[in-house]
Subunit: 344 residues, 2 copies
DNA sequence: CATTAGAATGTAATCGTTTACATAGCAGGA
DNA sequence: TCCTGCTATGTAAACGATTACATTCTAATG
């Protein structure tokens, strides 16, 4: 089928060892031989077979990436950044999303034990003991994204959901709102939990009571935000919230939609904030005040750490890093700010 | 390092051939032997080394995906669908984006000649002769997405930009607009060209003159749409367009932004339509009338075709398929339609 | 009981590299 | 001239699977 090292060797009247040495710049080779080999290889469009090479060297130059889903902006940005860095280091990306928890295990296992990758970046919101066990016999280096389970065998990178939630809650409080509602994310979700904690603690720190009726649970979808918003609006006027913190932007956008239908104005009638800083939140009016997640940084760092681990920097194992989040103030919270297209 | 087939064979007191036969369900094996091997393999968490297997079978169970960029919704949806189908067939996805044209070649070549994948799905807006040459010596099957270059060695799947553009233009004309502007995409871009052609032909078919001043060129970014919109607004009132067709939604959103600042109302003051049907276009008010691209279908079909090609269905080679686009009517064109969150 | 077909298993080559080790070639010093 | 110690090259053994072919076992048949 394809031309191989033997063919190159034959045409150059040298042995395959010499060809290999030339191609890998290893060991001494006479300049003239070197030239000849290089030239023939170029002429024949020779490219070493990666399977054979991997089999021999136990390196694949491939990084496995396992994500919970392949759906929104967040993951696209992440993949984009991973690709950039990987490319810079000459690595390829083997990507898989969770089709089910059972399947994640299968994939991780195939990637690791099957020798398909040199290392893995995993983002699994509900990482379980199974995964932990696999990692314990860590065949290959692993970087864990936003996983709260402590794990001494992997590098862990997290986004600071907790402080993000606190800061945006604090911002609402500073606006003078007292009755602040929160639409939580799905229970069991790590990000959702942290944001919820941040909200509660900030409220508490400011001596504000949290009316249980003002705490609703959504599932991060636009639709669930839409309905949660309608429910909150239906409350008695003495209890009705002055502001709502949606655990993510998508749910807040559901509220925007309902508000438009009901002719309710943000922030005059009610203030609204989100979390994530997705693109649409910059386009809608009023601009959605939210918390920015440093996704690119997360992508870049995780890939760089993984590559270092692969290259043998053992001292990194167990390292944990928390990336800070930033408050993005637009208008939905009650602030007036003129932002130009240059900002977006 | 990891347990291999020899170890399994040793523990079972059989030869590696027998183990291989059991694991691949090939050839006759005594049930008792079979059980034993399976059990030991399970106990030892044995997983065949994929490099060795690939080297021997010349199959990688990996599909290469090369995209122009890894940035927006479009590509995320595409990847999502590719992943779904690939997973269904037990294939893995090796993904790379264009870092440069030169690099694309390198990647395609490494994927193909390097034996990293069994086939490739390529989306390269400006596919060049180089790529064509590589494909001509087609080492592995290829599916080309939205590439206009005829190519007898690959399956090609396109999206019908032309008719999409015609239908949305027609819709504007039916609204009674006569002075219709178009903000084109970047020249050289295949999609942009087709949309432009569709627009022109539909205008012509309806006997409408196209004022050259009303034709602007953007680059598909929000910012370029913003400025194009401002320029169109600055025209003499006898020339100023009654409606604008933006070659993609992102540019139309730039117009939304400008309109908000300038207190211009869609569609009362001017009608606006886009192309792509991105998520944000459903959220803004008024909802953006646009053309829907069947991205999922494109992803699904391309992967299914590729897998068939890989499995040897040679008669598919050269097959071309054009996927139709659909007019999505919301309110920015002048229609009044109530859409519920259930629609989104 | 001998014969034989078919099932069960084993042997060894193969896939295309890398690389440890062996060997050949060659220049310079004694 | 003969060593010595380089540099340059070759040989062959991995790497871990698959698989064609050879061999042995089993059981049924005449």
């Amino acid at each position: 089928m394809s031309v191989n090292i033997h063919e190159i060797a034959r045409r150059c009247n040298v042995s395959i060892a010499t060809v290999s040495r030339v191609l890998n710049n290893k060991g001494p080779v006479k300049p003239s031989t070197r030239e000849k080999v290089l030239q023939v290889a170029r002429e024949m469009n020779y490219r070493p077979n990666s399977s054979a090479r991997s089999l021999s060297t136990r390196k694949t130059d491939t990084i496995g990436v396992i994500l919970p889903e392949l759906v929104d902006e967040f993951f696209m940005s992440l993949i984009h950044e991973l690709d950039e860095v990987a490319h810079k280091y000459g690595k390829y990306l083997l990507i898989s999303s969770s089709h089910s928890s059972r399947n994640d295990m299968e994939t991780i296992y195939e990637f690791m034990a099957g020798g398909r990758v040199d290392g893995i970046i995993i983002m699994a919101p509900k990482i379980n003991k199974q995964i932990q066990n696999i990692l314990k016999n860590n065949i290959r280096p692993v970087v864990l994204l936003n996983c709260d389970v402590p794990h001494n065998y992997a590098v862990r990178i997290k986004i600071d959901n907790y402080h993000g939630a606190r800061s945006v809650t604090k911002h609402l409080i500073e606006h003078g709102y007292k009755r602040i509602a929160m639409v939580k994310g799905p229970s069991g979700n790590q990000d959702a939990e942290s944001r919820w904690n941040g909200f509660m603690q900030e409220m508490e720190a400011n001596g504000l009571a949290v009316n249980e009726k003002l705490i609703l649970e959504g599932d991060f979808t636009l639709r669930s935000g839409y309905y949660a918003f309608l429910r909150l609006l239906n409350m008695d006027s003495t209890e009705k919230p002055e502001a709502i913190f949606f655990a993510n932007d998508m749910m807040a956008l559901g509220a925007y939609h309902a508000a438009h239908v009901l002719k309710i104005k943000f922030p005059e009638d009610i203030a609204v904030v989100g979390f994530d800083d997705i693109f649409t939140g910059r386009i809608v009016h009023p601009g959605l005040t939210t918390v920015h997640m440093p996704i690119s940084e997360m992508g870049r760092k995780s890939m760089e750490y993984l590559i270092k681990l692969i290259e043998g920097e053992e001292e990194l194992i167990g390292h944990e890093e928390v990336l800070s989040t930033g408050l993005v103030i637009r208008e939905s919270c009650g602030c007036t700010q003129n932002w130009l297209p240059g900002d977006i």
